[in-house]
């Protein structure tokens, strides 16, 4: 079993961190996992993305050429990546900033959530990425909510950002509790 994920959005929306949270959660489940970022020139255009591969076996390539799951937090990322998603794959869009009419794929499962608006309503705008991860955990069987919450808190604790854990869990739950 191998799952390939791309997280994409504007720089500052936390898509690289979202990928690292998936990486860490997968690592805690004893999966093989790789994370690969956009870097250098590619970053200077203001967009960012990362590829996360989660597998039961050794991982050959860290590139998600045809992701099973695509998370897009802004419009340009949808345009850039939607055609790469595997047929039957899952597309998660942030409807606060992405126009649903831009989705051209009809052979993927579409999941929509206004995660930026939700994050703003929680007075935690920068946690839109975490709201989306909550929604992703609800709609896939990658991680249970408890597995993800625990690994997320541990990750932030390790990176010296543990004091925001309560707010981050709140953001995660509000994504997870979406229908």
């Amino acid at each position: 079993m191998i799952t390939e994920i791309i997280c994409a959005g504007f720089g500052g929306q936390g898509v690289l961190t979202a990928g690292k949270l998936l990486l860490y959660a997968a690592y805690k489940k004893d999966k093989h996992v790789t994370w690969f970022p956009s870097y250098g020139n590619e970053m200077r255009g203001g967009s960012a993305n990362c590829n996360v591969i989660i597998s039961d076996d050794r991982i050959a390539s860290p590139y998600a050429d045809n992701p099973d799951m695509l998370i897009v937090l802004n419009g340009p990322s949808l345009e850039k990546f939607q055609n790469t998603v595997k047929p039957g794959g899952r597309l998660f869009i942030n409807t606060s900033l992405v126009d649903e009419a831009m989705v051209t794929r009809t052979d993927v499962e579409l999941f929509k959530a206004p995660v930026t608006d939700i994050a703003i309503s929680l007075k935690n705008e920068r946690a839109a990425n975490i709201v989306m991860l909550g929604y992703l955990c609800k709609k896939t069987n990658l991680f249970t909510d408890k597995e993800f919450e625990n690994s997320m808190c541990e990750y932030f604790e390790d990176s010296g950002k543990g004091k925001y854990n309560e707010k981050n869990v709140e953001a995660f739950r509000s994504g997870y509790n979406l229908d």
């Binding site: 690592y27 250098g40 390539s61």
Partner: protein, 358 residues
């Protein structure tokens, strides 16, 4: 239980060097290896070492010469044209038998090139990028863990032979994160070395660590140097073999390409296609002993990220040109498992001949 870090390959390389006793680093930023500088800047301060961002690559490589001549385990790193700038300095290390370590995080392209991954520094790295008769002992990591482990042991390897070591990584291995087990700190006493320069009492001659041209009888030195290189070739060949014994077609690949090649071997075997893989861990010395494991091989196929099949030339050379030898060259794109298997099927079906020139 050993500590596991989730860090980039570049960071693992820097941390491996620190744990292996590196207490001097000089370098100059260039994508995709700048994380090595960033990590070193933080960590050398913590372990009581020295970090210098030189004014250029040329200054940095020569600072490493100086620090290493004083006995300190020292590293520099670069990529693309930055690696080119260091070649003159590296040739001087070889001549002076300075056991410095350099990492090249390969990026693709000629001249300035691009910042994405590539494997088109092979000729430069393996055939001697500077002037004179030399190869660097060259290690080729294919994971974040190997970036750490190879940097960790590189200083001892270089000191064993009084010869520089090159860690030939690439942008993919350097930028990706994987779980990586951290190694314990090595003890190292630079003052125990008999060759390192230090203060001498008044009246005694100064010790000199210099380019051999100025201080040795050349015939004697040449013989010694050649013997040293022959011993390195005999004793330091390393490789990994995967399903090689019964392989009908044997892939050869290093670094990032070897991961894809390994994936292709696993998938092809499920389909009943007898693919194997020889993965060089040292590129010099080339692990030519590995070819003796082949029993039923019909063809060799290199998988490499360049246009001209640079690595294939050495495979032909070291296999004694006994097999038809093909190259799957993917330039700046990382190879794909299915493309490798499709290529192998075409060879089995007799549909393609090896190209002489790409």
């Amino acid at each position: 239980m050993a500590e596991i870090l989730l860090i980039k390959g570049n960071e693992a390389l820097a941390e491996g060097a620190i744990r292996g006793g590196c207490r001097f680093y000089a370098g100059y930023p260039i994508t995709p290896q700048s994380e090595i500088l960033e990590w070193m800047g933080k960590r050398q301060a913590e372990v009581g070492g020295v970090f210098v961002q030189g004014e250029s690559e040329i200054a940095s490589v020569n600072m490493v010469y100086a620090a290493r001549a004083l006995g300190v385990r020292s590293l520099t790193s670069s990529s693309g044209p930055g690696f080119t700038l260091k070649q003159e300095g590296i040739a001087y290390w070889v001549s002076a038998e300075i056991p410095g370590v350099i990492a090249c995080v390969q990026r693709y392209g000629i001249g300035d090139g691009f910042i994405g991954a590539g494997q088109d520094n092979y000729w430069q790295a393996i055939k001697g990028g500077g002037n004179g008769d030399y190869h660097l002992i060259t290690l080729a990591p294919n994971s974040v863990q190997e970036n750490m482990d190879m940097a960790y042991e590189s200083f001892e390897l270089a000191e064993k032979w009084r010869h520089p070591v090159l860690i030939l990584s690439d942008a993919t291995i350097g930028q990706m994160i994987e779980p990586c087990e951290v190694r314990p700190y090595k003890e190292y006493d630079k003052d125990q070395l008999d060759w390192a320069v230090k203060g001498t009492p008044i009246g005694q001659p100064n010790k000199i660590v210099s380019d051999v041209t100025y201080i040795e009888p050349i015939d004697e030195w040449n013989e010694y140097y050649l013997n040293k290189c022959r011993k390195i070739i005999e004793t330091e060949q390393r490789w990994e073999s995967i399903h090689v014994n019964d392989a009908e077609i044997c892939l050869l690949a290093y670094g990032i390409s070897s991961r894809i090649a390994e994936g292709a071997v696993r998938k092809a075997r499920e389909e009943g296609i007898k693919l194997g893989l020889i993965r060089p861990i040292t590129l010099w010395p080339f692990p030519k002993k590995a070819f003796s494991e082949l029993k039923n091989c019909k063809a060799l196929v290199t998988v490499e990220m360049n246009m001209m099949g640079q690595f294939r030339e050495d495979v032909i050379l070291y296999s004694g040109n006994k097999y038809p030898t093909y190259a799957i060259t993917t330039a700046y794109k990382v190879p794909k498992i299915d493309d490798i298997i499709a290529f192998a099927k075409k060879i089995i079906a007799g549909e393609i001949e090896p190209e002489e020139v790409f």
